[in-house]
């Protein structure tokens, strides 16, 4: 499902200058498609009266826009102080040792990906994480591995 043009135009109308809606539109497109497709870059550029190069430039600045299709199961582990002290690094190491997939990598078959992120503001659940963009915690290493392998119930 690509970017909804009506929602996009409504977002553009909220700003005094169309260019200001760039991040919002890219975010909307990513929510719709799971990533920012090359077609999105063209569409957004046209909607805002920008060049594709300009959109590309902004897009590459921000690390939270995905430039490739997402894996089916996505784990984002917090590595800030509280979570690190509660074993986040250990979990990441365990996953790497068992699957060969380290932080910032995707399994060769595209079934899952592992990322590290900064503080999720859920230190009381340390080590906390996002499972398919949904907050969870505390995370344990066996549970993490099982779910990455698609065992033990995928989150919605």
């Amino acid at each position: 499902m690509p970017l909804d043009l009506e929602t996009a135009r409504a977002a553009v109308a909220r700003y005094p200058s169309p260019r200001s809606a760039l991040l919002t539109l890219l975010w909307q497109a990513q929510e719709a498609d799971g990533w920012v497709t090359p077609q999105t870059v063209e569409t957004v550029a046209e909607l805002l009266g920008l060049t594709a190069s300009d959109v590309e430039s902004v897009l590459s600045f921000y690390s939270m826009y995905r430039r490739t299709p997402p894996a089916t199961r996505r784990l984002q582990v917090c590595r800030s102080l509280a979570c690190a002290m509660k074993g986040a690094e250990e979990i990441l190491e365990h996953v790497r040792a068992e699957t060969g997939v380290g932080p910032g990598e995707t399994a060769p078959d595209g079934s899952f990906s592992v990322e590290v992120v900064e503080c999720l503001a859920a230190c009381d659940h340390a080590p906390s994480c996002l499972w398919n963009e949904r907050m969870e915690g505390p995370l344990d290493k066996q549970g993490a591995l099982a779910r990455l392998r698609g065992q033990g119930g995928d989150p919605a």
Partner: protein, 774 residues
């Protein structure tokens, strides 16, 4: 800065327009708003900078122009160091460029700029003229405290036909990014990624697509953006600079030729605000490869036993003189000569060949000077203050590219009406009025009220179209800029290379002053224009044709007529750099020198005569057109005059060709109307033979509106045949929504398009046939 930024309507209690301050202890006065970096430069004190450039907006990115300031706005804090490129001078400000805090700040910035730099100066093209090298030597710390691993970035990335990018040499001053953004509005180069990983690149890593990439190599203060043609060719201390003028189009941008030994290694801009605003296009900058092209003619050729064979100049000139005087003769061409050579050709035709059958208009352009159709002349800089511009079926981008840069700036604040069958202003807002060529005169007339209301209107036109269109333009009453089809069309017209004009815009038949200078009686009957000459040749009324620096088989709108004429004329002399399609038909071929190989003057599109230097020698067997004319004149017993005849007080009007180089009628369904429109890298002058321009050469390009092309099975890049007037031409589809539906556009001067007649059918080349053809 000499201009006063507070010019314009003054507020009642305007502050004084100048401020006084001190620089390194000496008092100075500057216009209010002057930036510290400009102030320091003006008083001759040294100041380093990378991101600052006089032709770009300030950005404060590189932080190396640090100066110490103290004064009223910062009094409570005592002296501070700040960037000179983003801070204007204030009343009472004390600026210190060489104080210890300023020196230390610059040292530290330079140390940081070099952290990830590869320090590969010995193999870098910029070495010797690199600001990073020079300023580090002058202001840097001399050694680095950085012991960590440098970030490695791409080396020698190929950015398309002309540019090479070494990302690791880049210091992210963003001059290129700002030039693309502020000057071109194209954004071919952008910043990507973030923090210490930031790089310059094209948007999605595709090749650089615009016409003005080369300016980036001169803007770049380091060795990050360089060009394929100059890579590893020379060191700046090895090259000899020769100032000259580009003759790639009628604008006449100023440039500096750089020679290493006898060879041109590069061309650089030579800022002339009134003409080029400091920029060059890629055709102008890189189109010097033809000077050494293998196909250059290096010896005269004379046809013997049906074959063109090498001959001596004596043989060739006596054969030419004999053939040209054996019966009625005519002259075509001259738009690529210098002013002096045009005058010589004009005199040779009138006195040597006793004819007024002379015409430089071997293409679509009907006249060169606004005065020639009774209009007033605009200056190029008028674009900077115009409030209404009519772009009349003319593409400055394809015909005089650097003019388009100025027009883009105009379009930011003024109304630009882009009128005609093809959209021509692509990188700026404009009011597009699409219409067929035969509706142009009516549409122009409709603009009269708007033009009457405008403060400072202007028309840009390439002189294509008949007398009716000229009349409609005249009725607007606005000054006119005529973009020329040939580099020195203006000089050719002024020299009287037209059937009804003599030098200085004296009318044929009323040229007593010309006759006085030339010392002979002139033929009094007006001659025939290019179409008339070709018709006369085709019907056997002409014995000989002398074609100078022209290739009517490609450039004349009715290619079929040109073909018949050249076949029928008993004797043909062609003077050119290359063995063009026309030269291949000649009985005598006279090898000429190119624009950078001879000295003289060339007139640009506003009639400004600019000197050109002889930068390189050219092939040993070729002669400058002026020398050839002198020797041919001698063979015809004519002594060429040393001085130009005086200008007429009232310029004589030139008669425009009725057809105006335009074809009637559009089409629909299977039949489409054919338009021939200029493309920068098409054509058979020097571009077709220039190895530097080979990657961007346009040939067989078929532009169509996407509407309805599915039905015909024509998608982007498809091989097609165009059928018309019993001829078939092969091409490649480029879909372009800027083309009026019902029409197809081929590049003017591209071979074959002028043979198809006014209407064509476009059919897809069957895939199997495509394979077989290869």
């Amino acid at each position: 800065m000499s201009s006063n930024p507070s010019a314009g309507p003054q507020a009642p209690a305007a502050p004084p327009s100048t401020v006084s301050c001190t620089i390194d202890g000496k008092p100075y006065t500057f216009p209010r708003g002057t930036l510290i970096v400009d102030a320091v430069r003006q008083v001759g004190r040294p100041i380093p900078y990378y991101c600052y450039h006089p032709r770009l907006e300030p950005v404060g990115a590189c932080r190396v122009c640090m100066v110490q300031v103290e004064g009223p706005p910062v009094a409570t804090r005592g002296p501070i160091v700040t960037t000179g490129c983003t801070t204007p001078v204030f009343e009472g400000l004390k600026i210190e460029t060489m104080s210890d805090p300023a020196k230390l700040a610059r040292q530290q910035v330079l140390e940081f700029l070099l952290i990830n730099h590869p320090l590969d100066c010995p193999v870098c093209d910029k070495g010797g003229e690199c600001d990073l090298q020079d300023f580090t030597l002058a202001y840097g710390p001399g050694k680095s405290q950085f012991a960590e691993q440098k970030i490695l970035r791409h080396k020698a990335e190929d950015l398309g036909p002309f540019l090479v990018l070494d990302q690791e040499r880049c210091i992210l001053c963003q001059r290129c990014v700002r030039y693309e953004n502020e000057v071109l509005h194209e954004q071919n180069l952008v910043l990507k990624e973030r923090g210490d990983r930031t790089v310059i690149d094209t948007g999605a890593g595709e090749p650089y697509a615009g016409y003005f990439s080369g300016n980036n190599t001169e803007l770049c203060p380091v060795g990050a953006l360089t060009s394929h043609t100059y890579r590893f060719k020379a060191r700046p201390w090895d090259v000899r600079p020769v100032p000259s003028v580009c003759q790639g189009c009628s604008l006449g941008c100023n440039l500096t030729v750089n020679l290493r030994g006898p060879k041109i290694v590069r061309l650089l801009w030579r800022e002339n605000q009134a003409v080029d605003a400091g920029w060059l296009c890629d055709r102008g900058r890189y189109g010097f490869g033809h000077t050494l092209a293998e196909q250059r003619l290096a010896t005269p050729l004379v046809r013997r036993d049906g074959e063109l064979r090498a001959a001596t100049w004596e043989e060739a000139l006596s054969a030419a003189a004999a053939g040209l005087t054996a019966g009625p003769a005519a002259v075509l061409g001259g738009g690529r000569l210098t002013d002096e050579e045009s005058l010589a050709l004009s005199q040779l035709a009138r006195l040597g060949l006793r004819t007024n059958d002379v015409d430089w208009r071997v293409g679509y352009q009907g006249f060169a000077a606004p005065a020639a159709i009774g209009l007033s002349e605009a200056a190029i800089t008028d674009l900077d203050r115009s409030d209404l511009v009519l772009l009349l079926d003319t593409s400055p981008l394809e015909e005089a590219p650097v003019l388009d840069i100025r027009l883009r700036r105009t379009a930011r604040r003024a109304t630009v009406i882009d009128l005609g069958p093809v959209r021509n202003l692509r990188h700026a807002a404009s009011r597009r009025v699409a219409c067929a060529p035969d509706e142009l005169a009516r549409r122009v007339a409709e603009l009269a009220p708007e033009f009457a209301a405008a403060q400072s209107p202007l028309v840009i036109w390439n002189g294509r179209g008949g007398p009716a269109l000229a009349e409609a333009v005249a009725a607007l009453g606005a000054p006119l800029l005529v973009v020329g089809e040939f580099a020195n069309a203006r000089g050719a017209e002024a020299a009287g290379l037209a059937p009804d004009l003599l030098p200085g815009y004296h009318a044929v038949g009323a040229g007593a002053e010309v006759a006085a200078v030339w010392g002979a009686e002139l033929p009094r009957e007006p001659g025939r224009d290019a179409a008339g000459i070709l018709n006369a040749a085709a019907s056997g009324d002409l014995q000989a044709l002398y074609v100078v620096g022209a290739n009517p088989l490609r450039s004349f709108p009715d290619g079929e007529l040109a073909d018949r004429a050249l076949d029928a004329v008993p004797f043909l002399v062609v003077q050119d750099l290359f063995l063009t399609e026309t030269a291949q038909r000649a009985d005598v071929v006279l090898p000429a020198l190119g624009a950078l190989e001879k000295a003289g003057h060339t007139s640009n599109l506003v009639g400004q005569s600019q000197p050109v230097a002889r930068a390189v020698a050219g092939p040993a067997g070729a002669l400058a057109d002026g020398m050839i004319l002198r020797r041919l004149a001698a063979a015809l017993n004519v002594t060429l005059a040393d001085q130009a005849p005086p200008e007429a007080e009232t310029p004589a009007r030139v008669r425009l060709p009725e057809a105006g180089g335009e074809r009637p009628g559009g089409g629909s369904g299977e039949e489409l109307g054919l338009l021939l429109r200029p493309r920068l890298f098409a054509g058979g002058g020097t571009a077709a033979f220039d190895p530097n321009l080979e990657p961007v050469h346009v040939a067989g390009e078929v532009r169509l509106n996407p509407e309805g092309t599915d039905r015909l099975g024509l998608q982007e890049g498809a091989a097609v045949h165009l059928h018309g007037a019993g001829t078939t031409v092969r091409g490649t589809v480029r879909l372009d929504a800027g083309v009026l539906p019902g029409w197809v556009v081929l590049a003017a001067h591209d071979f074959g398009g002028n043979r198809l007649g006014p209407r064509v059918r476009v059919t897809a080349v069957p895939a199997a046939a495509g394979v077989a053809a290869r």
